[in-house]
């Protein structure tokens, strides 16, 4: 089924032949769920396109399921993917970071010294950490208090710290205000660390200090915590003094307005913004994220640049791998239409996110979205979370569906 879109492309590719320039050029920046998908589907929707993907890593480490690696329930190797299949699709994959974008000349300069011209540019840069966003937290601090919010060495560091922690220790994790990558991610991580502690270090505790009063799938998480991890996992809301104002990496201390908490393992989910290249290109606004036209994902700030995935302000759509993948396909179709002088169709997008509360206890949230009043809006009556009163079998089933989802989406993106 991989080459199936030849049929579609046949109808759209023809107008290019008439153009003075032989092949339209699209550059994609970032080879994660958004960028790798966009590059592949651009080629499928229009095999005449010249598509270049700029991604510094030769092997990409994915975030979904990395919380299970942290908790010792999954191999790190299962998170790692290469780009052979992307190349095989006719995408020129270049392992160099994009450094500067000249929006007037429509070129991307890469760290390898090469300049890549584009007719349209797709940015899928993911997130960067706002190092100035939390007092005491900088790049050096992250080696003491891992964020592990970009999977890779940080994931392994946190795993090692948890393994080294003596029984009876306290894990403390701070959670930032919205928006950030993977809204339910911190709560899944807290759950799976609690699962690990229950099994191996039952005298220990995990404390979640939150800058919010409400979070994704909250009722489901809290009901499961009560059932699975009573007394072991404590969540402190903003109202109860959960907002962390400063961290001290030397003493592993989290300070809040209400007092301070000393950790044996300290995790900081830091404040975030769109990957730096977005601000450099002028497509990020003052919030640090990128406003887009929900019909095409074209930047509201710079024409000819499309932004997808975590970096985009996608209205009601959360910053998830599923969303980035879905947006990439819609964006690829829109880019092909625009390059061929056609009006893009109004899209409909879906998101489905699974979270694990334990390896065999899955919960999900889903949504269906359409452009309304200039943003991607929820379709009323659709979407929502798993039911609160579902039987145990359904939780097992959703954990299994989560795993299947991972296998399918990583095959579509990297396989």
């Amino acid at each position: 089924m991989i080459r199936r879109r030849q049929v579609l492309a046949g109808g759209l590719a023809a107008p290019f032949v008439a153009k003075a320039q032989a092949r339209a050029r699209v550059v994609v920046v970032g080879g994660g769920f958004g960028g790798a998908t966009a590059a592949r589907f651009l080629r499928r929707y229009d095999p005449a396109l010249d598509v270049t993907l700029l991604e510094p890593n030769t092997v990409f480490t994915v975030c979904p399921f990395s919380n299970l690696v942290i908790a010792g329930g999954r191999d790190f190797a299962a998170q790692r993917f290469g780009y052979d299949a992307v190349r095989a699709e006719g995408v020129a994959v270049v392992h160099a970071a994009a450094t500067t974008i000249d929006t007037a000349a429509r070129t991307v300069m890469a760290a390898n010294g090469t300049r890549y011209p584009y007719d349209r540019l797709v940015l899928s840069p993911g997130i960067d950490i706002v190092w100035s966003g939390l007092a005491g937290y900088d790049e050096a601090a992250a080696s003491k208090m891992p964020h592990a919010w970009k999977a890779g060495e940080q994931t392994l560091l946190l795993r090692r710290q948890l393994e080294a922690m003596p029984d009876g220790g306290t894990v403390v994790m701070s959670v930032p205000p919205n928006p950030y990558r993977c809204p339910p991610g911190p709560y899944e991580r807290a759950s799976l660390i609690a699962w690990y502690l229950t099994k191996h270090k039952p005298k220990s505790k995990i404390l979640v200090l939150d800058a919010k009063d409400a979070f994704s799938k909250q009722k489901l998480f809290q009901a499961a915590w009560k059932q699975l991890y009573p007394g072991l996992l404590e969540w402190v809301s903003l109202s109860d003094g959960g907002k962390v104002t400063r961290v001290d990496p030397a003493s592993l201390t989290f300070e809040t307005e209400f007092g301070s908490h000393k950790a044996d393992v300290g995790i900081v989910v830091p404040p975030q913004r769109a990957g730096a290249i977005a601000a450099g290109a002028g497509v990020a606004d003052r919030s640090g994220w990128c406003p887009i036209d929900p019909m095409t994902f074209e930047s509201r700030l710079v024409p000819g640049i499309h932004v997808i995935g975590d970096a985009a302000i996608a209205g009601a759509m959360p910053k998830s791998a599923f969303a980035a993948n879905a947006q990439a396909k819609v964006c690829a179709a829109a880019v092909v239409s625009l390059l061929n002088g056609k009006k893009p169709d109004e899209p409909r997008l879906i998101n489905t996110c699974y979270s694990l509360v334990a390896p065999e206890y899955g919960i999900s949230v889903a949504g269906v979205y359409r452009p309304a009043n200039g943003v991607l809006a929820d379709i009323e009556g659709a979407g929502g979370t798993s039911p609160p009163d579902a039987p145990a079998e359904q939780r097992i089933q959703e954990a299994m569906f989560g795993e299947q989802w991972f296998a399918t989406i990583t095959a579509e993106v990297f396989g």
Partner: protein, 84 residues
Amino acid sequence: MNRPTALGLALLLVAAAPPPPGASSCSGCHGGALPLAGREAMQTTETLLAFRSGERPSTVMGRIAKGFDPSELGLIAAWWAAEK
């Protein structure tokens, strides 16, 4: 629009058409163990309608199918039927 008509229309339209609204999202989960490509259109439409009404129990599909009206589901099913 009744179902067979929607489906007939869909089959005429999809052969050289881009994916109808929503259809490209399906492969985020579907493929591998849960394939949609080449699946008979009427069968997929019936399944989606049963998810939508709640007649067929599901985990997420009921929540997703409610985001589409029956003719939109018919178009999606027909497009996937034509995929290889």
